[in-house]
């Protein structure tokens, strides 16, 4: 449980996709989200699906992991499909039963839009599965660096995110410890009337907040003692490197968008 929190949903590996620079992956995902909307007929959707599937295969991630990513959003897809199939009243009627009328346009539209959803989720899940949250944070810091000129606190944001990621497991341990300590004193968290349970909750939350604030302060002091004074001229422990692989993938995405543009109706 605590372990799964630290690395997020990351699946360790050495595949081509894993080795890509997080900046490439972020940029590719960002453009992909727009490109998906270019597809509007059978050819473009086939092309997009093939491109997405080849990325999934290159990542060498077991398919079950990607399917797991679909699970929370599955009902949205089913709902979208049903909504279109049942409510579109265009084209030729395929089927009629009582008030249910199904038209071919509705089926086609429902299928395309569900597929669009599936493709978007596949790509975004792929990024999450092949990149740790800390890598994404580093990538974002680098990509947004130009915005520093307009007073956007890019470095600070990245730092706060790293602090947060680092302290989630610590605070989880802390929560467990407090729960055990309070249970040892006789607090009952899981049964009893509602008001009693709310009181029990207070006995957990107050120590949790106080310890979190104490940690925050100690951390700030520790940082200042070591000479932290903002992002100016700071060197990096984790370096990002842009290789020919990254250029190659970016080029493939550009050619995909050109093809989609040509094939769309």
């Amino acid at each position: 449980m605590i372990n799964s929190m630290i690395i997020g949903k990351y699946v360790p590996g050495r595949s081509l996709i894993h080795r890509l620079d997080p900046r490439t992956k972020l940029l590719m995902m960002f453009f992909y989200v727009f490109i998906v909307f270019l597809a509007n007929n059978v050819w473009t959707y086939t092309l997009l699906t093939l491109f997405t599937l080849s990325l999934l295969l290159l990542s060498k991630i077991p398919f079950s992991f990607i399917v797991k990513g679909f699970k929370p959003i599955l009902w949205v897809i089913v709902f979208t499909l049903l909504l279109h199939v049942l409510m579109t009243k265009e084209g030729n009627m395929l089927f009629q039963f009582g008030w249910i009328e199904i038209y071919d346009k509705g089926v086609q539209q429902g299928f395309f839009i569900s597929l669009r959803f599936l493709l978007l989720i596949a790509i975004t899940t792929l990024l999450t599965l092949t990149t740790t949250p800390i890598e994404v944070t580093d990538g974002m810091e680098k990509l947004l660096a130009p915005f520093k000129r307009w007073n956007m606190p890019v470095h600070e944001l990245a730092l706060m995110m790293s602090i947060s990621l680092r302290f989630i497991p610590t605070l989880m341990e802390e929560t467990e410890k407090i729960i055990k300590a309070q249970a040892a004193r006789g607090v009952d968290f899981s049964s009893g009337p509602f008001s009693e349970r709310m009181k029990a909750m207070t006995s957990l939350l107050i120590p949790l907040f106080i310890s979190a604030f104490k940690r925050a302060e100690e951390l700030a002091i520790a940082m200042e003692v070591r000479g932290y004074r903002g992002g100016e001229g700071r060197t990096k422990w984790r370096q990002l490197t842009w290789s020919y692989l990254d250029t190659l993938f970016m080029l493939s995405l550009i050619s995909l968008s050109i093809l989609l543009w040509l094939l769309r109706s």
Binding site: S4, M5, G8, K9, Y10, G69, P72, I73, V76, F79, L83, M87, G106, Q109, I113, F117, L120, T124, T125, L127, T128, T132, P133, V136, T137, N151, P153, E156, L157, M160, M161, I163, S164, L165, F167, I168, T170, L171, M172, T175, E176, F189, S190, F194, R197, M198, M201, T202, L205, I206, L208, F209, A212, F213, A216, E217, L219, A220, M223, Y228
Partner: protein, 200 residues
């Protein structure tokens, strides 16, 4: 956000509060308590309001932004241990966005009081925070279905709201309870040395 100067302690407070949000969202998934009527409750709204109240509107809202970003970047910090960029496509993502504004507004309400804010003020703040949560979350849901799923005719605004009425009573009760508990946490933190140093 025109002023971008941060003290080191602001940075650590924001990071820590974003981490606390992650705990609040999933506290029930590894500690089997606070399951009411079979549904594990999340304490997200509660923590979000506290972020506004304890850190102030600017830092509180930033803490919620950081929470949203680490979730998007793949840490499973959202409710039901969700995370990753695909969360943006969830129709419920509006709720996560609304935490930023809810924290800002509740922070504003608490800051308006001259000395120690009263329990009534906290209850008002939490209820307003919850209302913001619902209004933004539900509208987002509607827009998400309307435009991303390209929902055809017959899908109405009222339909989305009628879904949201189901968990509403539970959330109102929880907000009031949060309003009662928060001043105690607030007072406890005022007493503890680290927090008062911050405000001094």
């Amino acid at each position: 956000m025109t002023k971008t100067k941060f003290r080191t302690i602001d940075l650590t407070f924001i990071g820590m509060f974003a981490a606390l949000m992650a705990i609040g969202a999933n506290i029930t998934s590894w500690v089997p308590f606070l399951v009411i009527g079979g549904v594990p409750i999340t304490l997200q709204t509660f923590f979000c309001v506290l972020a506004g109240a304890l850190l102030g509107r600017r830092i509180g809202a930033l803490a919620m932004t950081v929470y949203m970003l680490i979730g998007l970047f793949g840490a499973p910090v959202f409710a039901r241990l969700d995370g990753g960029f695909s969360s943006v496509m969830m129709p419920t993502f509006g709720f996560i966005l609304s935490f930023i504004i809810a924290a800002y507004v509740t922070g504003f309400i608490i800051e308006k009081s001259n000395d120690t804010p009263s329990v009534a003020r906290f209850i008002v703040a939490t209820l307003v925070g919850m209302a913001i949560n619902y209004v933004i979350g539900t509208n987002w849901m509607y827009v998400a279905y309307r435009f991303w799923a390209e929902a055809p005719e017959g899908f109405s605004y009222a339909m989305v709201w009628s879904w949201m009425l189901v968990p509403l009573p539970k959330d109102i009760i929880l907000s009031i309870i949060a309003g009662v508990i928060s001043p105690r946490i607030y007072a406890a933190l005022q007493k503890s040395s680290s927090y008062s140093q911050r405000t001094a």
